[in-house]
Assembly symmetry: C2
DNA sequence: CGGAATCCTGAATGATACTG
DNA sequence: CAGTATCATTCAGGATTCCG
């Protein structure tokens, strides 16, 4: 079938697009439900696991751990274990991670400036 | 049970946080898999549905339509129907939508500058 | 041409229980 | 304290079919 070929080609094209489009990679990462919250929390300085857990009230341990692991994997945060009893684990932004902070602030700035318009438009749209 | 109360409180806290945190709203929107691609495509000027479909090769009609509807709902995109035969539908950015473009460029800029470091870190991490 | 409606699957996320 | 492991659930998103 040609449709099958088309689909394969489309997927290949999308993969190629993804590979050469760093912006989509980035959005995949910071668009993550918890990552932005974690980065903002760590922007104030290193934090222990329990600190993060307390500051980001509604995150489950599973998602917190998973998000932190991904951030560590991507070189955006460091994980430091102090083998005391009980164990102490600190997370901190790497320089690369810190370079992300201004961008997050830019996003926050746009949101604070325009998000009410978006919400107004949404409300208008919904009431019809 | 107290755990139940805790969960409810955590959820309420998160909702409150969400409500007062425009940045998360924004990230939910632009972090969407297709939205960034659509906005970039429309940044070049109005496009017909089929144009968008052709430019964003791998998007399904369903997701393209759904994403466009959401963008329209949020006042970021306009939808103009020309009742010819066959129908013609044009999509364009609103001023609000256009105000998003520089932000997208900032995101793209960070990605182009740093994403290779991220990918390098990831590769290093994975090979261990 | 530009969708809408339906069905379906896998991945993301959450809840819960257990551990070094 | 800082997780891991497992199970249950939800839901985004793709495939397919039909329509004005």
């Amino acid at each position: 079938m040609t449709t099958e070929h088309d689909r394969d080609r489309a997927r290949a094209a999308y993969d190629a697009y993804l590979a050469e489009c760093p912006a989509r990679h980035l959005l995949d990462r910071i668009g993550d439900k918890w990552v932005s919250l974690i980065v903002s929390a760590l922007a104030d300085g290193p934090q222990r696991y329990s600190d993060l857990s307390r500051r980001i009230v509604s995150v489950s341990q599973k998602m917190l751990t998973q998000s932190l692991r991904n951030l560590e994997r991507d070189g955006l945060v460091t994980r430091t274990v102090t083998p005391s009893v009980p164990v102490r684990v600190d997370y901190a932004l790497t320089p690369l991670g810190r370079s992300l902070v201004p961008l997050m602030q830019a996003i926050k700035a746009w949101a604070e400036e325009h998000m009410d318009e978006v919400l107004a438009a949404r409300a208008r749209h919904d009431e019809r």
